[in-house]
């Protein structure tokens, strides 16, 4: 391929299709942080910081300002794949914009009876 060909390729309009992992620069899986679909995250940096971030990162930072959101909710709000959103969230955790709380690992063994009872009480009250 000549240099000219290369330049022309880059100048082509990529079109409206954004491949699922374009926003993660091609990274998938092997999450730096161990995130579950119900891992909760909340912003620890102000929304104003969003201006300094790429668009998707900024959106996540803004939507997590007031209250913790799950990975699933963020993925649904952004209309991105869960796996892609996990990569973005991991980056924001690493950069100190978000903190997270994952459910305890199953290796913990015993189900938490108090937690089960609380959920049962809550559902009964619906």
């Amino acid at each position: 391929m000549t240099r000219d060909d290369g330049e022309r390729w880059f100048e082509e309009d990529p079109g409206p299709l954004v491949r699922p992992f374009a926003v993660t620069r091609g990274r998938a899986g092997a999450h730096l942080q161990d995130l579950d679909i119900i891992t909760l995250v909340v912003a620890v940096r102000p929304a104003a910081d969003a201006a300094t971030l790429d668009r998707e990162y900024g959106e996540i930072l803004r939507m997590c300002q007031r209250r913790p959101l799950s990975v699933a909710e963020i993925a649904a709000n952004l209309d991105l794949l869960v796996a892609a959103v996990k990569v973005l969230i991991s980056d924001l955790i690493d950069s100190g914009h978000l903190i997270f709380r994952s459910p305890p690992p199953p290796a913990d063994g015993r189900p938490d009876l108090k937690l089960l009872q609380a959920v049962l009480d809550g559902v009964r009250k619906l």
């Binding site: 491949r19 699922p20 992992f21 091609g26 990274r27 998938a28 899986g29 092997a30 942080q33 161990d34 579950d36 679909i37 119900i38 891992t39 909760l40 909340v42 912003a43 620890v44 913790p68 799950s70 699933a72 909710e73 993925a75 649904a76 709000n77 794949l81 869960v82 796996a83 955790i93 100190g96 903190i99 997270f100 709380r101 994952s102 459910p103 305890p104 690992p105 199953p106 290796a107 913990d108 063994g109 015993r110 189900p111 938490d112 009876l113 937690l115 089960l116 009872q117 609380a118 959920v119 049962l120 009480d121 809550g122 559902v123 009964r124 619906l126």
Partner: protein
């Protein structure tokens, strides 16, 4: 109990908060999303998981950029149980080819509802097997569609070959109270299982 927590000035906001999940499994069109919507405090949201991703540890996608991406939709809702506990309900596709997804979803799940349509009971055989083999507490909710043959709970139990300890509940998942009773039944069952097994996950 150990948690994976990160440090930060707002750690306190998350420190006392727990997210838990229940699964609603069943065949196509059996009413999973309807049930989520009946009890959720938010309109059901939809996320998509990529079929080839789940459970795989792929560092990058170099060389697969041109592959067609196949995704599977996952509808879910949320119930704020109390200021410390948030419950998420995930409607999970019941077809065999989506089982890979259940592995991740079912980790840490408090339990599952297997939704059944008596016109297509065989659609939930796979779900029943999955939850039985993994020791995840489950109940069978028989969604009584208009015009469907009405079987009683014992007939459904026999047809599905499940033990007497597994609750079977006739329900109408469009109805909030009916859907709620199925969830109550599941959580009561999960409590019994936890008490009788000594509480080991997978027991």
């Amino acid at each position: 109990m150990a948690f994976a927590n990160s440090d930060g000035p707002a750690t306190g906001e998350l420190a006392g908060l727990r997210a838990v999940k229940l699964l609603i499994a069943g065949g196509f069109g059996v009413g999973k999303t309807t049930m989520v919507g009946a009890v959720s405090e938010i309109a059901p949201l939809r996320t998509e998981e990529r079929l080839s991703d789940i459970g795989a540890s792929v560092d990058d996608l170099t060389g697969v950029e041109g592959k067609t991406t196949t995704t599977v939709a996952l509808d879910f809702g949320r119930i704020t149980i109390n200021p410390q506990v948030v419950l998420y309900l995930f409607g999970t596709p019941g077809q065999d080819r989506f089982w890979f997804m259940w592995k991740e979803l079912s980790v840490g799940a408090l339990g599952a509802v297997v939704l059944a349509d008596t016109r297509r009971l065989e659609d939930c055989f796979g779900s029943v097997d999955f939850f039985e083999s993994r020791g995840i507490p489950f109940v069978v909710g028989v969604n009584c569609f208009d015009g469907a043959d009405v079987y009683d709970e014992d007939e459904v139990r026999a047809a599905l070959d499940i033990g007497d300890h597994v609750p079977v509940r006739l329900c109408d998942v469009r109805d909030r109270d009916s859907a709620k009773l199925v969830l109550v039944s599941l959580l009561e069952h999960a409590m019994r299982v936890a008490l009788t097994t000594g509480g080991h996950a997978g027991a």
